[in-house]
Symmetry: C2
Subunit: 208 residues, 2 copies
């Protein structure tokens, strides 16, 4: 019954039913696996893609995780079944089932980095509009039981396309797998844009 | 062309098209109007419903705003076209068009209070599952151009009902107006629950 690491990682997809892990079992949680695999780095000075922070397991057959932010409290990475290019997930490193299970300190950091990531994803994709979505519990379409915010760029679509997009956002309809060749430079652009946004924040503080 | 206060207030409804105000014009923004009408109070010790903080304009014919949180940086209130009882909006007091226009300090406070409000809305409604949604720009279904998070309790629904709910969440389909007789005690419960959650936070800090 114990899922292999590979099948556990596939459980990312918010459009698929979960399997084999109980809601409060962090040992089989795919996001906990990512959090323990990728160690924190300074988001104002991101490492190169080949660094052990971003590629700890060079040559492993596991699906690559494209980390874009990795702090002591939080981690963010590209969704492996993106609704649009730049679809990012942001979560606490520690296993928290719902937003209310996060600590007050984690909640503040999530708020801070939702803004930073939103700006960075917009800069990296060139798409000016986006949704922030966070689902708590099965009735609200939560699948991976480790709380996470989605940041989802919204390209302009005609009415039918927009409806299909919205419905897919909550777990129905077709999603495509992340293209790894496109993902690598995109993740790099997002990490660089995050560093720039933090630079602007710091400059703002210095002026006060 | 200048909208009256009443028609401006009707522009709350995220399911309806906006009218007469330009995106960056805070003078006709319904959320700025609420922010200037309702002064801050200590969320750990909320005033009674008849206080000038919550009922500044007793007897006015304007649609009532049911404020549930009012701090120097943020304000939260019941959505006037709720998707479910307890549907709350949380926004910065100051006019910020998108999440990226919020200051870093506002972004942290939004994160902190998303957690507090989520816990309080769950306690007041008894509904354990909920969505957090925040839309930026027209392509992402943002209507009121003053950024706001939705906290939306998700009662258990059968499949068709759940699809309709999701589609309505992004601006299509039928929504009903807030029932003011039900809203008053609900807002009171949420304010009390917020005070309790903050009490627990403070007790946690005291222990450290």
């Amino acid at each position: 019954m114990a899922p292999t690491t590979t099948t556990t990682l596939n459980a990312f997809d918010p459009g698929q039913p979960t399997h084999a892990h109980s809601d409060d079992d962090s040992s089989s949680c795919p996001f906990c696996h990512i959090a323990t695999t990728y160690s924190p780095y300074d988001p104002a000075d991101p490492p190169v893609a080949s660094s052990p922070h971003l590629d700890p397991d060079a040559g492993s057959p596991e699906p690559t995780t494209f980390v874009v932010l990795s702090t002591p409290l939080l981690i963010a990475f590209l969704d492996i079944m993106p609704l649009s290019p730049g679809h990012v997930l942001l979560c606490p490193r520690s296993h928290r089932r719902k937003l209310t299970d996060a600590t007050p300190a984690e909640a503040r950091e999530l708020g801070r980095y939702l803004r930073v990531l939103s700006a960075a994803v917009g800069a990296a994709t060139g798409v000016p509009d986006w949704n922030v979505v966070q689902n708590n519990g099965a009735a609200a379409a939560q699948v991976v039981p480790h709380m996470h915010f989605h940041i989802i760029p919204r390209p302009e679509l005609r009415s039918r396309g927009a409806e299909r997009f919205t419905s897919t956002m909550f777990g129905r309809g077709q999603r495509e797998e992340l293209d790894e060749d496109e993902a690598a430079p995109l993740a790099e652009s997002i990490r660089q844009a995050i560093a720039e946004v933090i630079g602007v924040e710091e400059a703002g503080k210095a002026k006060l």
